[in-house]
Amino acid sequence: MNTEVLAAKVRRHVLTMTHLGKSSHIGSILSMTDVMAVLYGEIMSYRADDPKWSDRDRFILSKGHAGAGVYATLAECGFMSIEKLKTHCQDGSDLSGHVSHKGVPGVELSTGSLGHGLGVASGMALSAKRTQKSHRVYCVLSDGECDEGSNWEAILFSSHHKLDNLTAVVDYNKIQSLAPTQETMALEPFADKWKAFGWNVIESHGHDHKSLKAALHKNSVITDMPTCVIAHTTKGKGVSFMENSVLWHYRTPQGEEYEAALKELDNA
């Protein structure tokens, strides 16, 4: 699958989904879209017609507010109809703003409160190790989410247990809910922190598919170490007026702004 094409399709879907659902977090979703496209378009093994296939790679979105990005990617990869995406955030829909597994094939874990995904992913990775399974577990986190202490419990745990079948990807767009991460709760030196906890750290350009593919490739794994890919991203990537803007963490694309964003994506 051409991952660039997949990313472009997902960007268009999520813009329309947040428009129709009048929902937030478009900036956070666009930020991680290329990571999702590379994971589902090239890196991960799965069977869309058999979502519970036991040898599938597991994917957990810990930054659950970007759920639309997961739904759109899954739909493009054949887990559900594209048509269903229109129900996102609508009355009675199971496509909630924060990612939910109920009624949604392909979603392993429902999240929404930050700081949950990596611990569960670590439990899955440990289970795979103890049962001699060879699949991998991928978990995408936000940068702001790394304020949560529970993540650092999981980070300690995963290196202690040498979970080299686990990859955490941090969508490092450097803007969290109210302000830049460095103003809110400084993460830097971020890579050094993960390294100090015993992780194999790879810094990647989060919108350059070649860079992401290299970082996420199994050849980048170091035996006995979990891998952290710090994906340097741009919040709102792909829509000029949304890029690097705190506003688009919450603002929903409506009216002229929606039309303008759609035009930019179509012309990209």
Partner: protein, 307 residues
């Protein structure tokens, strides 16, 4: 009681390699045998209850039957959101063993007094809440928790209720045990404090008051029939728990009565009066201090019966 639990887990682990026991760095002198025999089914996550619960959920989602182990409030309160979102919403077979219900760790202070646990756990959808009153019941609880695919909370008391295994009683999920017959009133207790209910019923019997005593080992799903029968057939209901009055056993029993339109002639909830325990002492001392011992039960009964 905790030893009986770990012994049973050790027996069951022998035949089920899916069974996993995870501790949050507690269980000195208790868990070593399990750890030694089944190192691949044992995990000490360190002092990290949030991660313990998340790891448990992750393993359960992969098909393991997981038991988390810690003391008092530790395996449920800091990690409550992991229990709610990761375990209960995903209907994981994660079973939380809390050693030290109520005042079991009486001398250790308020942090170690588990007096809101039943209330918090029973409010979570999909969660089963078990509170055995005897070591042999606690062991049977483990089997019930495994057979029940839902998450469960298992409240392990230090004290025992005083019902021997030879009594023929059995711990069955969702089933109350009537451990004493009588018609003047019913005392419903959960956990080791059952002992106070039984002693009170002996003392009351000498005064001509015959109590039905119910050992309610499953708080959720609750045995509605036993409660409705108690309300209809006996002169009133007293609930007794080492727990806050709000949301615990007493509340669960009163819910059954109100939901079914069956009103006992009197209803007395005995528990902590919405306070934190700021004094310390033995479990028995604290029962006396908070008026939850047998003499307090006798006193409340006589007031309720106008005697």
């Amino acid at each position: 009681m905790r030893n009986a639990v770990v012994e049973r887990l050790t027996e069951l682990a022998e035949n089920d390699d899916k069974l996993v026991l995870i501790t949050g760095d507690l269980g000195f002198g208790v868990l070593e045998k399990f750890q030694k025999r089944f190192p691949k089914q044992f995990l000490n996550v360190g002092v990290a209850e949030q991660n313990m619960t998340a790891i448990a959920a992750g393993m359960a989602l992969e098909g393991h039957i997981v038991f988390t182990y810690s003391i008092g409030n530790f395996p449920i309160l800091r990690c409550l959101e992991q229990i709610r979102n990761d375990v209960c919403y995903h209907e994981c077979n994660v079973n939380i063993i809390s050693v030290g219900g109520g005042f079991s760790y009486g001398s250790l202070g308020m942090s170690h007094h588990a007096t809101e646990d039943i209330s918090v756990m029973r409010s979570l959808p999909n969660m089963t809440v078990l509170s055995p009153s005897e070591p042999w019941q606690a062991a049977q609880c483990i089997d019930e928790a495994i057979n029940d695919p839902r998450p469960s909370y298992i409240r392990i008391d230090k004290s025992s209720g005083g019902i021997s295994k030879e009594s023929g009683q059995k711990f069955q999920l969702g089933k109350a045990n009537i451990v004493r017959s009588g018609q003047d009133l019913t005392i419903i207790a959960t956990g080791g404090i059952l002992k106070e209910a039984l002693e009170a019923s002996d003392l009351l019997s000498k005064k001509g008051v015959e109590c039905r005593v119910i050992d309610l080992g499953t708080i959720k799903p609750i045995d509605e029939m036993a409660i409705i029968a108690a309300a209809k057939e006996t002169g009133g209901i007293i609930t007794l728990e080492e727990h806050n009055k709000i949301g615990g056993l007493g509340s669960a029993v009163s819910d059954v009565c109100m939901d079914n339109g069956v009103l006992p002639k009197f209803f007395v909830k005995m528990g902590m009066n919405d306070v934190y325990s700021s004094v310390v002492g033995s479990q028995q001392y604290l029962r006396g201090h908070y008026e939850l011992d047998s003499s307090a039960v006798v006193k409340q009964t006589l007031i309720a019966l106008n005697k």
